[in-house]
Amino acid sequence: MTKFSRRDFLKFTSAFLAFIPAIRNLLALETPIEDSKLYPTELQDPTPPPLTDEDLIAEKYESGFAKIITSDHIIIENYKGQVILHISNKTDVWDGIKWVGDLGADVGDEIVGWGIRNPDNSLTCEKLYVNIVNYIGEVSEISTNSRRNDNIVAKFVQNDRFRGRQSISIAPHTMIDDGQSRKLYKERPVLPKNSDIIQVIGRVMKDGTTLAAVVYLSQ
């Protein structure tokens, strides 16, 4: 039988009395992070900002695994130790791809922040990504899902050059870029063919599959 530790007891008590911090947050005069504001609806290219200068990267970029998430900051852990990422309603989460941004972030997720460095080494985030990946590789095992109301409409396997075989899921709102134009999959249901080499930018889900945000069909 699992031992109920002191930490578990504290966690139990804080969850039992969770309405107290909730009341405090409801009464706060500062604007809380609201999903509708946090994730703007305009669709842009989710490619992470260009990384040109190593110093610039070190100054503006931070990534690591989320340890604590609150409405105004995320504490991540990386090789430097713990770093605070400040977030606000000005933070551009997933470059405005609302349906991916709506998935939010959980403790343990890999967070990438881009923004302004503060004197205390924390980062005020202008951009924020959660579990973002960028795969380039050959496609195989394509299958479509014809069931109505399903959120995953197609799947395939991509053999990424660095990470190997990855299971990719396509949602109705996945953006498909064929080199000429880009449209949502539900507007133009085009999939890569077997053996095509494509690029996928997406978010790794908890089951290990990758949810494609943008698929570039031509490489």
Binding site: F19, L27, A28, T31, P32, D35, N151
Partner: protein, 179 residues
Amino acid sequence: MIQTAIFVLNLYFILILLTSGLSKMASPDYSLLNAIKLRNLFIPFGQTLYQFLAWIEIGVSILLATNTSIRLATIANTALFATFLVSQIIVLSIAKGTNCGCFGNIYKIQNDKIHILVTAAQALLSYIYYWLTTVYSEVPNIQVLVSLIVFLGLCVWILARRLSRLAIQAKNTSKLNQP
């Protein structure tokens, strides 16, 4: 002694249901249902259901605060916590590490075994509360008055602060929009 227990449970459930309901309403786009949607589990009208729950919670807290139809209110209270318990167990089995959604986007709690234990304790307490009201139906007027003051005081306070915040936001937006 038992009347004190009833009073404490009454206040606890008023506070938790009112806060939880208002938090859900303040987070219309937030739902842990979003997290499980992508795991191919289709929930019809998920977001509507989430907002409907918020209204139910506030409705039950009003009944508890006013000591109106207390039997019905305590049954609904127990049913609510039993529903939360079942849904949290289902969600934990599908998606580990998601936020529970109890307080929407206002206060996030990770849906894990401890949180399920808390909800189980709350469901048990809500049943005990129901049982106590079946045995001791008489509630002193002073207790009803205190519950009502707590309920109305919190409602007015939250409403006033949120209106102030809207005013501050509007002022900031107009400043930003100035050339």
